[in-house]
Amino acid sequence: MNFQHTEDRRMLADSLNRYLLENNSIERRHASAEGIFGYSKTLYAGLGELGAIGALFPEDAGGFGGTGFDVSVVFECLGRNLAVEPLLGALVVGQALVAAGTEAQRAHLEVIMAGSTVAALAHDEPGSHYEPSHVATTAQRSATGWVLNGTKAVVPVGDSADLLLVSARTSGSTQDDDGISLFLVPGTAVGLSKRGNGRIDGGRTAELTLAHVAVGADALLGTEGQGLAVLERISGYALLALASESLGAMDVAKDQTLEYLRTRKQFGVPIGSFQALQHRMADLLLEVEQARSAVINAAAAVDETDRITREKALSAAKYSVGRIGTLVAEESIQMHGGIGMTWELPLSHYAKRLVMIDHQFGDEDHHLARFIALGHAVDVDMAEA
């Protein structure tokens, strides 16, 4: 039993934190988030150069990490520094290539890891509400490959991503588990229209409409109709990444709130001397430590081969950070009082990110329900055995 990161991972975390501290001041971060891409191309390339993206992938894919704890360390640093750069897209699309890509498709990995190609997952649709099998977008065979039609909602950096991983139905109806296929689609594809938006927590998303988007036969990633298993696998990485990012952001929000309690005076004394606030802060600390444990459990579980064990730990972690991240955000704002409501205070942006993480890849309720359903699956297996 050992809860220390290896020296390699500690060094990676140190260099990432230092790099972001120097290059992602809150002013620069806001400028990136509000810029045309919703992130900084320079910073993203810099992160690629530092190895932050390569650390997300195993050696046989050209990376130098790829375990749960590698992913966790990187995203915790991003959370601490409120980075808006699109590493989540790199992680999920890259892991899909690792899991199901042909030799030729895996060639994308090199440019993804270098930070020169920006990848995004285009899976959610209007009305899917976190349900992974909800895919109404269709892909039909053509003489030369496939033709895609449909709408994809809230695609991160969807208006500027170079490479999209699009889920589309090749058989069955909208809610079926079978019949979902995955396609690699260039961001410049003809027939792809993009309605870009800013995000409330900084950065950009887009709604993508695919109207007769033609792609080659080599665009199909993995087995036709069996995309849901790949989606679950890569969503698992996303859950771990988001939980880790949330933990990093929670730590900062908690530290900033604690500092405020120590320095802000009312009635002639620091407000941290009031027991009402002390106990709330103690609760917050306890919850953040529980979130840290949840992230450790998820990082250890993501490489687990038993599906139920792995997915239960991942849903448990996402549920935990969903609940605790929102609590930290709300309590931090409340304990800051009026100043916590201002755009000027960095804390308010951490709070927004913490809450919006709960809206990505399934919220607290979604993952609690999923945790329960996975548990029932075990009970049924045991009853049948």
Binding site: F3, L258, P270, Q275, Q278, A282, Q290, I372
Partner: protein
């Protein structure tokens, strides 16, 4: 990062399991799992079995009869015991007085009292709380005045202690007493060992809300205590009492008890039907169960993190306050869900069913007889040992620096 136990630790766990399988009396384990009340004889029997194995005082140094375990071994032992239905080791002599004597007692006291704790010859109870001093221990008013007469040096003790757990079984009580009335709060308190059979000691039972007799009031009227029963120095008792509050509390979360209780809850929820379906399939009940299960999974890791830090040479200070708060909250929530699962059958209360040998058919589920009484009894968890609010004060001061 490595969340696994080492092969040696796993081998140790196997040893503990084998020991429990062979030595824990099935009769006692059944009572524990059924939530029935244990007699003094049950507890003495279990202590004697553990002592014969050398595992009773399992955090004492080897020189005093401990097995030389580290925090990980203790965690494994506690967890396995709880899962097997082993009774909690009565903490007062073994866990509370023992460590104080080992650290602050003189050679004579150690040589005399420690073996008697192990053998069960003495049953200790704790004389800390007073009617006016619950969580605020420093305000103790019970006095001890030193006198010398023809029979030697003595203290004359006057005052009252309360919430004395299992005092009705005890022949000895360790007390915080005020030896200097002029001194302020914490100074002027001494740590004194008192024979419960001395003239002037009177014990009155307190009946708790579950109808049980577990705690007592103890009155002292001109009780004569030999001066040699003073532990450490006069007026330094607060230091010794505080030492106890920080001493080795990595097991305070009671992970094993929580895991055992959750397993019991799951069995019940799979059996009890509501609208023809197991309660486990009821969305609201399933959500309550899942929430506490996830919280427990997280706490297990939090507990292991604290243990790993201790094994690496760290001191578990205020971290044990976090373990205490969340561990007791989780256990109380599980007991609450077991009570809920009984439905209306939680209402009938049959006192005799709280004890071994009750043979009438159960009213509703077999667990219904004890579910509500246990739930009410275990409200104590967040009150004793420094209430959860006191633990938050400690976190606030020691970790947050507020």
């Amino acid at each position: 990062m490595d969340l696994q136990f080492t092969p040696q630790e796993l081998a140790f766990r196997d040893d503990v399991r084998a020991f429990l399988h062979n030595k824990l009396p099935a009769r006692i384990a059944h009572k524990v799992k059924a939530g029935q009340r244990l007699s003094k004889a049950d507890q003495e029997e279990w202590h004697a079995i553990l002592n014969a194995q050398g595992w009773l005082a399992n955090h004492w140094p080897k020189a005093h009869g401990g097995p030389g375990w580290g925090a990980v071994e203790k965690f494994i032992f506690d967890t396995e015991c709880a899962l097997a239905g082993g009774p909690r080791i009565v903490p007062f002599g073994v866990n509370m007085l023992g460590p104080v004597l080992i650290k602050y007692g003189n050679e004579q006291q150690k040589a005399y009292w420690l073996p008697r704790i192990l053998s069960g010859e003495d049953w200790w109870c704790q004389g800390y709380s007073e009617p006016g001093a619950g969580s605020d221990l420093a305000s103790v008013k019970t006095t001890a005045v030193r006198v010398t007469d023809e029979t030697g040096d003595h203290y004359i003790v006057n005052g009252q202690k309360t919430w004395t757990t299992q005092g009705q079984h005890a022949n000895m009580i360790f007390c915080l007493v005020r030896t200097d009335r002029e001194a302020k709060a914490q100074s002027g308190i001494s740590f004194l060992l008192v024979d419960m059979n001395s003239p002037g000691v009177e014990l009155r039972p307190i009946r708790t809300l579950d109808g049980d007799h577990e705690v007592n009031e103890v009155f002292f009227t001109d009780v004569k205590v030999p001066a040699e029963n003073l532990v450490g120095e006069e007026n330094k008792g607060w230091t010794y009492a505080k030492f106890l509050l920080t001493y080795e509390r990595t097991g305070i979360a009671g992970v094993g008890f929580c895991v055992a209780a959750l397993a019991k809850l799951k069995v019940i929820a799979a059996r009890v039907l509501k609208n023809g379906q197991p309660l486990a399939q009821d969305p609201l009940f399933a959500a309550r169960m899942a929430r506490v299960e996830i919280d427990l999974e997280n706490m297990k890791t939090t507990n292991l993190r604290v243990i790993a830090a201790v094994a690496g040479g760290g001191v578990p200070g205020a971290e044990s306050s976090m373990l205490k708060i969340r561990g007791t909250e989780i256990r109380q929530e599980i007991l609450s869900l077991i009570r809920r699962a009984m439905g209306p059958n939680a209402i009938p209360f049959v006192e005799a069913a709280q004890y071994e040998g009750y043979a009438e058919p159960p009213l509703g589920e077999p667990e219904a007889a004890t579910a509500a009484a246990n739930y009410f009894n275990y409200r104590k968890l967040s009150i004793f040992g420094g209430s959860n609010e006191i633990q938050k004060n400690i976190i606030s001061k020691m970790i947050l620096g507020l």
